[in-house]
Structure formats: structure tokens, C-alpha cells
Symmetry: D3
Subunit: 138 residues, 6 copies
């Protein structure tokens, strides 16, 4: 019996939308005020959905504390109260869009989640109350 | 790498549930207080989900402002502060249920979204905190 | 020991902003799209705050069911799935603004709340996620 | 035209995470403070998603009141203001995890939903703002 | 310059509404399903508001971590994943209503908050999305 | 009849907690990860509450669009997608805490609100779902 289990974590971070191959003029044309070189920031919400069978003795797909610990160690500690452009190894050289943040988080989490015998199903990143992205791994 | 991107927009509107082939008695039997001929209304929330590959230079499936502009022009301007039964071309002759609102919004958005090279994935319409519908296009 | 107790109720209704002493042109100038003669509507949230001492045997300022029953009988039944301009006795002849809705609700509730030995403290009406009013009775 | 329709209901209940084949020591090791023999509790949110074609005369997949009545009769009355371990027939002998609550609710609802000609798509149970599960029936 | 600062904490707990001087029949008459002897429970939200002047060097009324630590030590550790009737020293002998929970929390927090040079202004306890209480200390 | 009217606006910004009279070591001791010299950021919510009598012809304390325009011109345009430490004139030389942001916003808004004949009652700034401040002007 396959269950989807979702854990929410949060991180507050600074970023700018910026393609390092372009000059400031082109960055402003493409990204508007999000290109501000002095940065802006968000309260990001991260929803990590895993799926798997229910362990009959525990009643769990996976212990939530164990899942939360993986998410915190692999991504939240790297993202929270950080500058996403300057300080996050897995976002180096990318435009730090919500899309790329979600893909980067997936790549950090996927091996660790597989390693405990379950499957990563979705990484959802909410940037504001009006926009979010979901990545399902391909 | 396929990403789902969701944009929320809102509209406040009046409507009634009402089948014009029926008399008031039958409308009240089927729709209860929602059939009130003097109308009632809602703060509707609209979540539009598109999917596509991430543009490597922009980091986007689509620029959110461009998506938001399409949604506003194609649907919000027609729905917001309007009477959904009387004033909305794409709802004429239909029961103005949340289901039909979602289908109507899909039909308005789908060609415009395809036209900018991405795919419409889901139209979700939230009528109250206790009920919403999702339409995936077929 | 004075406690403030708040109960939330909800109502979905149609209205328009409209001063019956003015012509349509002036109503549109003052109220914009909210003056639409075909109505629009909202999911209103109503927060009723009462205050009083805690009954030592019950642990309550007032039984919530009793308070909820008063709110439903005195205001929700008159407002929910109604046209606030046409169908609500206590709003007749007024501009149906959030301000006047809150004052009208206060006047409906205040005698009934006093009658059960507690005090009405605040009527808060939330029209959208971006605006609400509070009325404290004078 | 297939539509997904979701109805939210809520229930407040006590439970503990506890495997009756284990002693208290092992239960605490596996479930931590959630194993407290004196119970704890939650405000659970239940989102029931059904799918089906839109009835052209009604504009509905199913009348929301009818769906809500089924959910209340089949599950909410059994769960609300109850002890999930002691008082719920369909959870007897199971670890009362969010996963097992969702599966149990599915099994209660699925025949009744099929009986009115629509299909149960998803049972989502939200235990806290930070975790929820979804069950799709297999 | 007096600022009000509010910190939210959460606790999940079991309770029943029950006056130990009454028999079960009277408890059910007064408290309805909330009197269930097998308990039920809630996700409580606690909003603690303090007030004070802004420290010009820190920009704070009080460091949020320090305030959060006091709330956790004085109340959350005693309440979270507990049975409020059986396990909480400061609620013994009282009806465990939201009102009495708020008053009890105030009495736990007030000396500790005064001890760090600020003033406790309000304890707000949210039991469900539809009801909450506020206590201002007298 | 005095009514309190509240308008919500939002801004996304970068900041750091930092006292320019201190070295990095002392800033980290006092502000922890919030002192990160590479900045972090938030989705701030701003609730502006004004009070006044209801204009009998308009039904308003003040037209919401007029209030919203003042808030946007006086504060949101200066704060949104900005670095609060580097780019905001009214925060220069201050620790950019939520407290000081609220006081600064008050000082920007108060003359403009008075100028249209109403009174500023409260500026509430929500930094995360777990903390907010309120300033009442003294």
C-alpha cells in the first residue's frame, strides 16, 4: 500500500535573479527588480514528498524525524539565512530561480532518500503566496 | 527537466447555481440556497499550473510576469468584480458551478499558454476553504 | 479574571458599493468596479470577540455553542448566500461597505450578547486577505 | 470531461503512536514523545478528492452536500472528539499513524463513493502544518 | 518607543472538558462531546505578546531566541504531546478550557518575562481555526 | 462611529542584523545567523491599521485604493525587492530589526495618513509565521 508522505521545512534566504554571462542591462531587462545587485529575499517553504509502503510494525512510510533530519542536513543548513547565489554549493553557476532551487534540492535529497529505502516523489518550493514550483525528478 | 510552475490569481464575483431549463422550485431543490435569484458571491482563488523545461539562460519555465499577464488578460479581467452568470462570455448557457468555471478558464488559457511554448497542466479553482476543483484538460 | 473569547463564522454574499442618492456615473467614480450594478461577491469572515469573567465551574466566559448559535441566528442566517444590498434588513439604506457591515452586525449582536451576561468587545469583518475592519461599539 | 473535486472536513482527536506487541521501552524508542501512554491529540484536516464527469444539467461531479454527508457519516462521526486508538472500529489493532488513518478512511469511503457513481481519487490527512499524507488507493 | 512583539509556539495535546465535582451525566450536559472520558485533542497555537522599549544597540525589545527559550521551558515542554488534564501541574484541579489554559500559561510566563526586564502583554491560545481566547493579565 | 480599517501589503527584501559599531564577532554573538554578512531575506507582510469615523455618503473610513496608494508610495516602493540595510533611506544607521522596520514605516506613513484626515493606529510587520511586531506610535 503506497503512501505519499510530505514534510514541510522552511528557509529564509537572500538571492537575485542574474545570469552571469549577461551585463546588468540585460539582467534587468529579463528579470526586472529581481535582478537588484544588492539582493532581495524570501521566506521559502519547502515541501518534500516521499512515497513508499507502510511498515506494518511502525505504521510509517518513514519516521518523520528521520526524514526531517535528512532534509535539514542536506538542504536547510545550506540554505537557511544564506545568500543563495554566493553561498550554496549546489546552486553555483546557475540562475537562482525557484525552478533551479527545486531541482538543486532534488539532487541533494534523492540519494539520501533512496538510501533509507524509500523514493523521493516531489520537491515543491513556495517562493511567495502567489507562486511555487514542483519538480518530480525528470 | 520538466518543472511544474503554479501561479495564483484571485477574483471576487457574484453568481448563482441555476439551470435555465428548470423553474425556481426545481433549482432550489437541486441547488439549495446557492440558487438564490438575488445572487451570492465568493472570493475565488485560481491556481494555474503550467509545465515545461527550464530555459537554461533564464532559469525559468516561463517568466512569471508573462504568465500572470496572460491569466489576467484572458480570465481575471473577465471574472473579477463581475456577475459570473450575466457578464462572462465563456460561461453563458452553463450552470456556473466551480467545475464549469474551471473548465471555462482552461479553455480560455490553453491556446494562449501553448502559444508561448509551454503546456497548461492544471486549473484549480478554490471556492471556499472547504471545497475546490481541479481540471487537467480532458 | 477578564478573558477575551473570539468565535469565527463565515458567510458568502453578493453586494455592490452604491449610494442610492447618486447616479451611476458618480457611483463608478467613487467606488470603481465595486459599483458594478450586476453585483460581485465575497467569502466574508466574521470574528466576534466577547469578554467576561471565567465561570469557575465551567471554565468558560461563555459556552462556544451558545455564542455560535447567537451569531448564526442574529447575523449569519441573514447574510449567508444573500444579496447584502437587497435582502438584509439591517443594511437597508446604507452603503454596503465592510465598515457598515461590521457596524450593522454589532447592532444585531450587542443586545443578545448582553442578554447572556457578557460583553461584546469587537466585531471584525474580513472582506479579502488584504483588508478587514474592526468595530468596538462607538 | 473529468474533474477532480475536493472537500475538506476536520476532526479533533486524541491518539498515541503505539505497537501493542511491544513494551513501553520499545514504543518510546520508536515513537518518542508520540508514544505517551496518557495520549496527545491533533486538529486533523481531511481532504477527500473524488473524480468524475460533470453532470451537464447540474454542473457538478457530485453535489457537495451529498459528498460532505457521506464523509461525515462514514468517517467524521467516528473520529471527531474521539480517541483514535480506543474508539475507532476501523483503526483497531493498527498503529494509529497518519498513514494508517488515511488508509482506514479510504476503506470507509471508497464503497460509498463508488455507490453514487463517482470515483474516490485521494484521501489526504494533515496532522500538523508540517506533515501530511496522501493515499490513492493502492 | 514602546513596541509589541509576538512569538508563536505550538503544542499538540489531549484533553477533555470535565468538572471533577460533577458526574458524567452533568459533564456531558455542559460540555457535550468535549467531555468524552477517552479524551480528544488539538493542535494548539500559542501567541505570546510582550511589550517594551527598543534597545538602541540591538534594535530589539528582546532577542526572539531568548523569548522563545523562556516559552519553551516554562510552558511548551509541559504541554506538548501531553494530556492537559493529567500531566500539567499548573492546570491541576481546573476545567481544562482554552480560557484556563491561557490564564495558566500567563501565570507561568509572567514572572520569567518580568525577570528579563520586559512586560507580558497578552497570551493568545488558538484551539481551532474557529475559536481562540486572549488574556491580558487581569 | 470609530472604525479601525486594516490594509495588508507585502514586500520581499534582503537584510542582516548588524550593529555597525561592533565587529563581526560581536555581531554574530548578538544576532547569530541573522548577522550573515552575505545577507538573508524575508517575505514581509505589512498590516497598516487606520482609524476614523465612517463617511456617511461613502460608507468608508477611507477609500482602500487611496490608502493602498499611500502605503505603496511611501513605503512599499522603498522596501520591495530591496536591501533594507543598504537601500532604504529611513533605515540608515539603524539595526534593521523588525522593530525598527515597523517604527520606520510608522514615521513614513503617519504624516501622509493624517493629511487625508484619518489617524494611523498601528503598523504591524510580520517577518515569519512565528514572529511579528506592532507599533502604535509611541
Amino acid at each position: 500500500m503506497m503512501i505519499h508522505l510530505t514534510r514541510r521545512e522552511r528557509f529564509n534566504a537572500a538571492h537575485r535573479l542574474f545570469n552571469e554571462d549577461w551585463d546588468d542591462k540585460k539582467n534587468f531587462e529579463c528579470f526586472g527588480k529581481c535582478a537588484n545587485p544588492n539582493w532581495h529575499g524570501h521566506n521559502y517553504e519547502l515541501f518534500v514528498t516521499v512515497k513508499g509502503n507502510v511498515n506494518p510494525q511502525l505504521g510509517f512510510v518513514v519516521n518523520l524525524k528521520r526524514l526531517s533530519k535528512i532534509i535539514k542536513e542536506k538542504v536547510i543548513e545550506k540554505l537557511d539565512h544564506k545568500n543563495l547565489n554566493l553561498e550554496v554549493d549546489f546552486l553555483q553557476g546557475k540562475v537562482v530561480s525557484t525552478e533551479n532551487i527545486a531541482i538543486g534540492i532534488w539532487e541533494q535529497l534523492e540519494p539520501a532518500v533512496k538510501n533509507i529505502g524509500i523514493e523521493l516523489h516531489c520537491v515543491k518550493v513556495v517562493e511567495t503566496e502567489n507562486n511555487f514550483v514542483e519538480y518530480f525528478g525528470s
